[in-house]
Every structure is written in structure tokens, then in C-alpha cells.
């Protein structure tokens, strides 16, 4: 550190040439984890160097290249050229199964469209989270249909062409009915509930908690 004080009066060692200084700036900017100020560059380079001048040369050298020398506030850094940003993304597509809530909501929308959120909740027996609807909207499998002409004018949801394409359906009417589902073994063959048991609206909400026990394996 003591030599540094001598720079004012003239160092014993001549400063390296400009091309060499440019190399130094290049290496420092490249290896530094943060943008580097001119003062910092000068402090790290040998005495008598002119980092600011070397920086400008370096910036010109990289003009139009895949990497650029850019100013970040008071400091300098090297960055990939913005137009090549697309190369820096490695897209990995991850297939993920739709959640049970989303599938059920989607199914209700498909079978009952146009359907309001309140109706979906009534049929499912549990409330439908905002996220579930958003996800289906984002997937473009449902879209907002006409408002229902009832108090509050709630929006309705209908399935989209994208939905039909994805599931290979010509129209939502092609969805198999309950009878067909049962014939295909998709419905559990339980005896129809006894007449006496029918008037238990309070138990339906309870049923929601228990609902899917038998099919639980589906999600695993």
C-alpha cells in the first residue's frame, strides 16, 4: 500500500500500455460479481492506469458483439446483448396433473354451462377458490360467459374451443351422460338412496368432507 502514495510524485514503474489496461478492465468486469466503479478499477489496476479511458475502448470493442459493456448507475458491468436474451432461457416444460378441485370445477362447467361460481360451489358442496377459477381461465379451458339475469347479475363460465380441442370433443354436448358414466363403470354402483334419507340437506355439506374417499387413489 505504501507504493500507492508514490503515484502522485511519479511511480518507478511505468503504467502498462492501453491495450494491456483494456485487457485488465475486461478481466475485472468479467470476473466481478457486481458492477465495478471506475474508482474501484483504478484501485485494482497498477499505478498510473487510466481505467476510464480503457473502459471506453473496451466498450467500443464490444459494440455489436454478443456481450456488451454497460453502465449500471455509477458502475460498469458486462452483460449479454439484450437481443440475445432468448438464448439465455432454457425452457423446461413440466407436465403437471390438474388438481382435483380444478378438474371437478372444470367438469361442472362443462356439464352445466353456463354456470355461476355459486352454482359450482353448490354442486361441489365446497367453496371454489379464486385460484382454481383463475387457473382454468389461464389455461383457456373456461371463459366468462354472459351474466346471469338474476339478482347480483353473477358472471357465468362456459368451456372454450381450446377445452374441446384438448379433450377431443366436438361440442360440450358430446360429454357422456351420467348413465353412460355408470355403464362405463365410472360411477360407483350404489343402491339409490332410500326415500326417507332424501331430506337431509344439512348432511350434504358434511358429505363434502367425505366425498371422495373411494377415489382417493386417483391423485397419487
Amino acid at each position: 500500500m505504501s507504493e500507492r502514495e508514490e503515484t502522485g510524485t511519479g511511480s518507478l514503474f511505468a503504467a502498462p500500455g492501453m491495450p494491456e489496461q483494456e485487457r485488465m478492465v475486461e478481466a475485472i468486469l468479467f470476473a466481478s460479481s457486481e458492477p465495478v466503479t471506475v474508482a474501484d478499477l483504478n484501485a485494482r489496476m497498477p499505478h498510473g492506469c487510466d481505467a476510464a479511458a480503457a473502459l471506453l475502448l473496451l466498450r467500443d470493442r464490444y459494440r455489436g458483439r454478443g456481450v456488451q459493456v454497460v453502465r449500471v448507475g455509477e458502475a460498469w458491468a458486462m452483460r449479454t446483448a439484450p437481443d440475445l436474451g432468448f438464448l439465455m432461457q432454457k425452457e423446461t416444460v413440466e407436465l403437471r396433473k390438474l388438481s382435483r378441485a380444478a378438474i371437478e370445477t372444470l367438469a361442472i362447467a362443462a356439464y352445466h354451462q353456463p354456470v355461476t361460481r355459486a352454482e359450482i360451489e353448490e354442486i361441489r358442496g365446497v367453496s371454489v377458490s379464486r385460484g382454481t377459477i383463475d387457473q382454468l381461465l389461464e389455461l383457456e379451458w373456461i371463459r366468462i360467459g354472459r351474466r346471469r339475469m338474476t339478482p347480483g347479475r353473477p358472471v357465468t363460465f362456459v368451456v372454450t374451443q381450446t377445452f374441446l380441442d384438448h379433450f377431443g370433443l366436438e361440442s360440450a354436448r358430446d360429454l357422456p351422460g351420467l348413465k353412460e358414466l355408470r355403464a362405463a363403470g365410472l360411477l360407483e354402483n350404489r343402491p339409490p338412496p332410500e326415500a326417507a334419507d332424501d331430506n337431509r340437506p344439512d348432511e350434504d355439506t358434511q358429505g363434502g368432507l367425505f366425498d371422495d374417499t373411494p377415489q382417493q387413489e386417483d391423485e397419487t
Binding site: Q89, E91, E194, G207, D212
Partner: protein, 262 residues
């Protein structure tokens, strides 16, 4: 030992040898020690005198013993082997001997030493190279790759239909306890029979106690019969009734026990 020990010719050598002894723990095994000893010959490892080396090593082991330094077994094994090698090298070859010649053994030891020395040399050269993170550097700012994780959600028509089926059949489904319309529990039967038993002064068929609506459907009848039978056993145990069956599979009959019965 009849041979004079040449390595103790000078004081310097003697000191070196003693230093080795003190340092014995610092060696990585007999081969390492041999390599160090071979350095005192100050020749190319290719021209090393294995005989001299064997003598040096054996002298070293003797010294260690004299100083009561415990040598690990592998040092002693090497000493025994070198003693054998020394005798092979000194004695004229025995034509009847099957084993490899002393020269072959010596050449192999020299090879091993040279190879170890070469590897040490390489290791040093390797470590002296310009190294990443010390002499040259990777990009400091780990801009790296932006990993764009695109999640693609999938569902099949089957998922959809199963989901719908699940909802539509939910109303048919009742929690387990609610579902036992065809089951009569022991408690229920016991409760029933306690109330009725007072009227059973005569032997009566147990089955006649089944409640209305439980005698027709076989499933219900089975359950009710079983629970009533179990309940009657309870009542027998409690001393409330008598129980009898005339024959195998004959009707089971019960009768209230007279409190004055003995």
C-alpha cells in the same frame, strides 16, 4: 549383520537416519519410507541400488527397534521381504528355485519407487498449475441461465368424467356409520330384549323377538338374529333368562328366569 552399514559413514548421514526414526509417523507406509531413503543415494531412481536400499531400510528398522519405537506391521513385513530380497541378490541364483530372481524383484521395487516418485511429481505439477478461482476466473455474476419452467397442466377426458361422476354420486354416499341401515348392533338388540324379556314366562323362539321389518330381508335378518343371539347370551350371563336348544340347528328358545329360581 555382517555387512558394514554404509549409510552411517558420516555424521550427517547418521543424523539424517535418526531424523527418519523420530519422524516415523510422518511416513505413509514402507514404500514412502523407501522412497525417502533412496534420496540419500542421490542418483536417478533408475540407477538406484536396491541392495543398498534394502540395507538402509533394514538398518532403519534395527534402529527403530533399538530405540523401542513400535513399528507398524507393514513396516516389518517390508523388512522381512527386503531381507529375503537381499539374500537373493547376494547369493548366486539357485537353478532349482522356482520363484522370480532377485533381479526381477529388485527391478520391480525400483519400478514401484520410480512410479510413486513420478506421481508425486505430477501431483506437485498439477497443484502448481493456474487454477480456477485462484489464477483464472469464471464469470463472476452468475447470470447463468434463466430456467423458464413452463408448467403445462394436463387432464384427460377420463379425469374429467371421473371428477364429475365423483360429484354426482356424492349424494348417494353417506359416511360409514350412517350407512348401516341393515345392521343391528348388540346394544340395540340388548336394549330391545331387556324391555321384552319380562313377558317371556314360557319358552319362546328367539327369532320371534326380531323387530318388525328385520325378518324379511336376509341381510337384515342375519344381522338382527346375530345381535339378538349375542344379546341373549349377555342376558343369560346376567342371570335374567334361560336359554336352550333341543338339537343342532333347532330353534333357540329363551325364557325369563323366575327370580325365585335357584
Amino acid at each position: 549383520m555382517s555387512d558394514p552399514d554404509p549409510q552411517f559413514d558420516s555424521v550427517a548421514d547418521r543424523l539424517a537416519a535418526e531424523a527418519l526414526i523420530v519422524d516415523v509417523d510422518g511416513f505413509e507406509g514402507p514404500l514412502d519410507l523407501l522412497l525417502t531413503l533412496s534420496r540419500t543415494q542421490k542418483v536417478d531412481l533408475r540407477q538406484i541400488s536396491v541392495l543398498a536400499l534394502a540395507r538402509q531400510y533394514l538398518a532403519f528398522v534395527e534402529q527403530a527397534k533399538a530405540l523401542r519405537i513400535e513399528l507398524a506391521a507393514d513396516y516389518l513385513v517390508m523388512a522381512a521381504w527386503l531381507a529375503f530380497l537381499k539374500s537373493r541378490l547376494l547369493l548366486p541364483p539357485d537353478p532349482s528355485d522356482q520363484g522370480p530372481s532377485g533381479d526381477d524383484l529388485a527391478a520391480h521395487l525400483a519400478f514401484q519407487l520410480e512410479r510413486l516418485a513420478a506421481m508425486r511429481d505430477c501431483a506437485a505439477k498439477l497443484m502448481a498449475r493456474d487454477r480456477l478461482g485462484r489464477d483464472f476466473f469464471a464469470r463472476g455474476e452468475s447470470e447463468g441461465m434463466r430456467r423458464v419452467r413452463r408448467v403445462k397442466y394436463t387432464a384427460t377426458l377420463l379425469d374429467l368424467m371421473q371428477g364429475y361422476a365423483r360429484i354426482r354420486t356424492r349424494d348417494d354416499f353417506r359416511p360409514f356409520v350412517m350407512d348401516r341401515t341393515d345392521v343391528m348392533t348388540l346394544e340395540e338388540a340388548l336394549e330391545r330384549m331387556r324391555g321384552l324379556i319380562g313377558y317371556a314366562g314360557e319358552w319362546t323362539d328367539l327369532l320371534s323377538y326380531l323387530p318388525e321389518g328385520w325378518g324379511g330381508d336376509p341381510k337384515r335378518r342375519r344381522s338382527a338374529t346375530a345381535s339378538h343371539f349375542a344379546a341373549s347370551l349377555e342376558l343369560v350371563k346376567a342371570g335374567r333368562i334361560h336359554l336352550r336348544q333341543d338339537d343342532t340347528f333347532a330353534p333357540i328358545q329363551i325364557r325369563a328366569r323366575d327370580p325365585h329360581d335357584v
